[in-house]
């Protein structure tokens, strides 16, 4: 799938009131704006002028988007690895459990699915690209790609092998297609050889990809 990303210039005019629109002044270094970049600029500006939202709200939302990263997911996973009670609460309700750690995972319900010695989970959204963004940030391109969305339900082991992950045949590979309002997060198995590790050290082993399920957490062995 063609991904032609020309980098548009972010522009918040900083006015909350309706005003005469001033001409958009991009830097000379910018490549020409695409039709959709122009559309994005125009729509945002019009919505601000109409009072649908303010420039400040838009700015704050951009900052909120940037603030989300897989680190938040790594924290809840590390806590679950060290605290059985927390793990049980996490499996019940990720949003609530995240809030215990001061993480705002938003209003859309997120469910954790637990990897065990006998089950390995992997998440996909075949219909669009649903993803627990409000906990772990924006998804990678490949998660949204035609190849991932088409093949993960049909040949999950082959897809995982492309990520370097081979799940033994005696382990059940369970694919979750996020078709409705719930988002899914894989709770990976705690790697062996991490006895006595601090939560912070454990969180360092938890990658975005192992919370999607295409990989295992990092190994503790250097």
């Amino acid at each position: 799938m063609a991904q032609d990303h020309e980098h548009g210039h972010e522009h918040d005019h900083g006015h909350d009131h309706a005003h005469q629109p001033h001409p958009f002044q991009p830097d000379l270094e910018e490549t020409p704006l695409t039709h959709y970049q122009v559309m994005t600029q125009a729509v945002g500006d019009l919505l601000i002028e109409k009072g649908i939202f303010s420039a400040d709200e838009l700015r704050a939302m951009l900052e909120a988007i940037d603030a989300k990263s897989p680190a938040a997911g790594a924290r809840v996973v590390a806590r679950a690895w060290t605290d059985d009670g927390y793990k049980a609460r996490l499996l019940e309700d990720v949003n609530k459990a995240a809030a215990e750690l001061g993480i705002d995972a938003g209003g859309i319900p997120i469910r954790a699915v637990e990897n065990t010695e006998s089950v390995h989970n992997v998440i996909v959204c075949t219909l669009c690209s649903c993803y627990p963004r409000l906990l772990i940030g924006l998804p990678p391109d490949w998660y949204k790609s035609r190849a991932y969305r088409s093949r993960t339900v049909r040949e999950p082991r082959a897809v995982l092998a492309e990520f370097g992950t081979v799940i033994p045949d005696d382990v059940e590979l369970r694919v979750h297609d996020s078709t409705a309002d719930l988002r899914y997060l894989v709770l990976p198995l705690r790697p062996a050889g991490t006895e006595g590790w601090s939560e912070e050290e454990l969180a360092g082993l938890v990658t975005r990809d192992c919370m999607i399920g295409v990989t295992l957490p990092k190994s503790p062995h250097y």
């Binding site: 991904q3 039709h35 729509v43 939302m61």
Partner: protein, 131 residues
């Protein structure tokens, strides 16, 4: 129509499967591509989150998805992820009368005119500005 449909290549059901509904279709390797989201892409995402929040409830996730699906099959080959989003958001806003086609067109022309797309026009402008 048989009750138990087998998931083969789907050729017999080509017309029954909508183009966005791609689970199980053949595809090439998963290219592990990533990119840092461009500011305009995050702007699209931010706009959607604001439009859908409790204060506004102007566009639901369902409406966003539905309009993306209605962009047609070419959208998946010709448009990037956030291009599909802004196209859908815009169609939704037009349908709901939040913005009009006229004002959007005028504003886009204004923004577009300030920086015309096309390498030739850009190079000409660059040449103009050189001392």
């Amino acid at each position: 129509m048989s009750k138990e449909t087998k998931g083969g290549s789907g050729s017999a059901h080509r017309l029954l499967r909508r183009h966005h509904d791609m689970g199980g279709l053949p595809a090439g390797p998963v290219e592990p591509t990533e990119h840092d989201y461009a500011p305009w892409e995050k702007r699209v995402d931010a706009i959607m989150r604001l439009l859908g929040d409790g204060k506004r409830r102007l566009i639901t996730t369902d409406e966003l998805r539905r309009c993306i699906e209605e962009l047609g099959p070419g959208a998946y080959d010709e448009m990037s992820y956030y291009e599909r989003w802004i196209a859908s958001i815009t169609n939704n806003l037009l349908e709901k009368g939040v913005i009009t086609v006229d004002e959007l067109g005028r504003r886009m022309a204004q923004i577009g005119e300030a920086w015309p797309a096309g390498a030739e026009a850009r190079d000409a402008k660059l040449a103009e500005r050189k001392p």
